[in-house]
Point group: C2
Chain length 254, copies 2
C-alpha cells in the first residue's frame, strides 16, 4: 500500500510598511492598506503585518529590517518623491547595506517626461536608487519605484502605487489562493459564540472569523467568514456552520 | 543677568495596535487608524507608530510589548467580542503577566442590557478582564473596554471605538499641541524640493512636509505642511516658505 503524498501547502507571506508623517498625524487618510490587503489576498499572498512609521530614518530602517526578515515579500508605500522628507530610498539602501546614487536608467526614465532643463537637484532625488535594485516602471508617474531583495518600494499616492503594484504582481510567487465563504447568521454574535468556537476548534485547516454588524431590520447581526485553501474542507466547515445556525435559531424560537 | 528658563516641551507619544485578520485580508477596510490619528493630534498626543496584526496570540503579545515599552500610551482596537477569535483580553493579560477572569463589574455592565438568561458562556467572554485593569464604559455597547498600565483596549467597530475613546481622552496626559499650517504651493514638488529642503534644515523646531496632489486646473500641485509646537517658530517658517514660493514663481515666469 502506498501512502498518499503529504498535503503540502506553501504559504507566501507579505509585510507592508507605510511611510509618512501625514498618515500618523491624520492629515492624510491611508487608502493603500486596504487596497494592497485585498489585492494580495486575491492572488494568494497572505498579508501578515502592516506597520506605519514616520519619516524618520531609524524608524524606517528598523521596521524594514524586521519585516523583510520575517516575510516572503515586503511592500513599502511613500517617501520616494523629490523633497527633503522623501528618505525611503536612502533608508532602504541603509537597511541593505548598499550604496545609493543617481541611477542612469531612472534618470533616463525621468527624461522621457521631464525636459532636461527642469531636471534639477530635487527631481534627480527621484532617480536615486540603491545599488543592485531593479526599477519598477509605471504608466502614471515619470518616477520609478524599485525592487531590491524581497522589498518592493512604491509611491504613496494611491493611483501611482496601484500602477506600480500592477507591474510588480506578475513577477511574484503566489501561493494557493485562500478561498473564502461568508455566511450571514441572522443571529447575534453572543448567541453563537460557543458552538462557533467548537466548530473552529474541530476544523483545523480552516480559519473562522465572526464579524458583528448592525442590520437595519433586526439590529445586531453577524457575518461568519470561513477561509481555507482546501475547497472541500471549506465546504465541510460551512455546512457545519449552517447546521449550527439552524439549531440555534430553533432553540431561540422555542 | 538671569538666563531664561530652558524651553522644555514634553512630548506625549502613542502607539496604535489594530488587531484582526479581517483588516489584513482586506475584507474590512480599517476606519480607526485615520480617526485615532486625527483625534490624538488634535489633543496634543503624537501618534508615532501603528501596527496591524492578525488574531494570533504570539503576534498580538509581541507587538503589544514592543509598543507599550516605547510610547506613553498604547491603544488597541479589535478582538474583544464574544467569539473564539476575540483573544485580545487574554493576550493583554499575557503581555502584562497577570491573570484573567470574568470581572464582576464587567458582568454587571453586561446585565444592564442583556437578560441574565442570555448571559451565556460566549457573552461572558466579554466580561473577561485582566486583573488590575479599569473598565472603559461606553454609551454604545454593553461590553466594556479596559485600561491596564499604559494600554487602552477598545472595540474594533468604529462607532463603539469612538465612544470608548471619548471616555478615555479626558483621563490622558496631553502635551503641547502640535500646531499646523498648510500652504498651497501652486508649483510642482520638483520645482521647490531643493529650496524647501534648505528651509527645513534651517528650522529645526518645525517639521516641514511636502505632499503632491493633482489639482484640476494646473495638474501636479503641492501642499506644504509646516508643523511646530511653537507658534512663533511656525509663523517664521511659514513666512520663509511663502517667500521662497514667490521667488520660484518669479524665476519660472522669466
Amino acid at each position: 500500500m502506498t501512502a498518499a503524498p503529504p498535503h503540502i501547502i506553501i504559504t507566501i507571506t507579505a509585510g507592508l510598511l507605510v511611510i509618512g508623517d501625514e498618515i500618523l498625524s491624520g492629515r492624510t487618510k491611508d487608502k493603500n492598506i486596504g487596497y494592497i490587503a485585498e489585492y494580495l489576498t486575491s492572488i494568494g499572498i497572505e498579508l501578515r503585518e502592516v506597520r506605519v512609521v514616520p519619516d524618520v530614518e531609524a524608524e524606517i530602517v528598523g521596521a524594514l529590517n524586521a519585516l523583510r526578515n520575517r516575510y516572503t515579500y515586503v511592500f513599502t508605500t511613500g517617501g520616494i518623491g523629490p523633497t527633503h522628507d522623501d528618505i525611503t530610498a536612502d533608508c532602504v539602501a541603509k537597511a541593505f547595506g548598499v550604496s545609493i546614487d543617481v541611477d542612469p536608467r531612472a534618470r533616463a526614465m525621468l527624461l522621457q517626461r521631464i525636459p532636461e532643463k527642469d531636471l534639477n537637484e530635487a527631481r534627480l532625488r527621484m532617480a536615486r536608487i540603491p545599488a543592485g535594485a531593479d526599477l519598477i516602471v509605471n504608466k502614471v508617474s515619470s518616477a520609478p519605484g524599485f525592487h531590491i531583495g524581497n522589498v518592493f518600494v512604491m509611491a504613496g499616492v494611491p493611483s501611482i502605487m496601484q500602477a506600480m503594484l500592477d507591474e510588480v504582481v506578475p513577477t511574484l510567487k503566489t501561493g494557493v489562493k485562500m478561498l473564502s465563504e461568508s455566511v450571514r447568521a441572522d443571529l447575534r454574535e453572543g448567541d453563537i459564540g460557543t458552538p462557533l468556537g467548537e466548530i473552529a476548534k474541530a476544523h483545523t485547516e480552516t480559519i473562522i472569523g465572526s464579524y458583528p454588524f448592525i442590520d437595519e431590520q433586526r439590529g445586531p447581526n453577524t457575518n461568519i467568514v470561513i477561509r481555507s485553501r482546501d475547497a472541500q474542507k471549506l465546504a465541510a466547515a460551512k455546512r457545519e456552520v449552517e447546521d449550527m445556525l439552524a439549531r440555534v435559531k430553533a432553540t431561540l424560537r422555542r
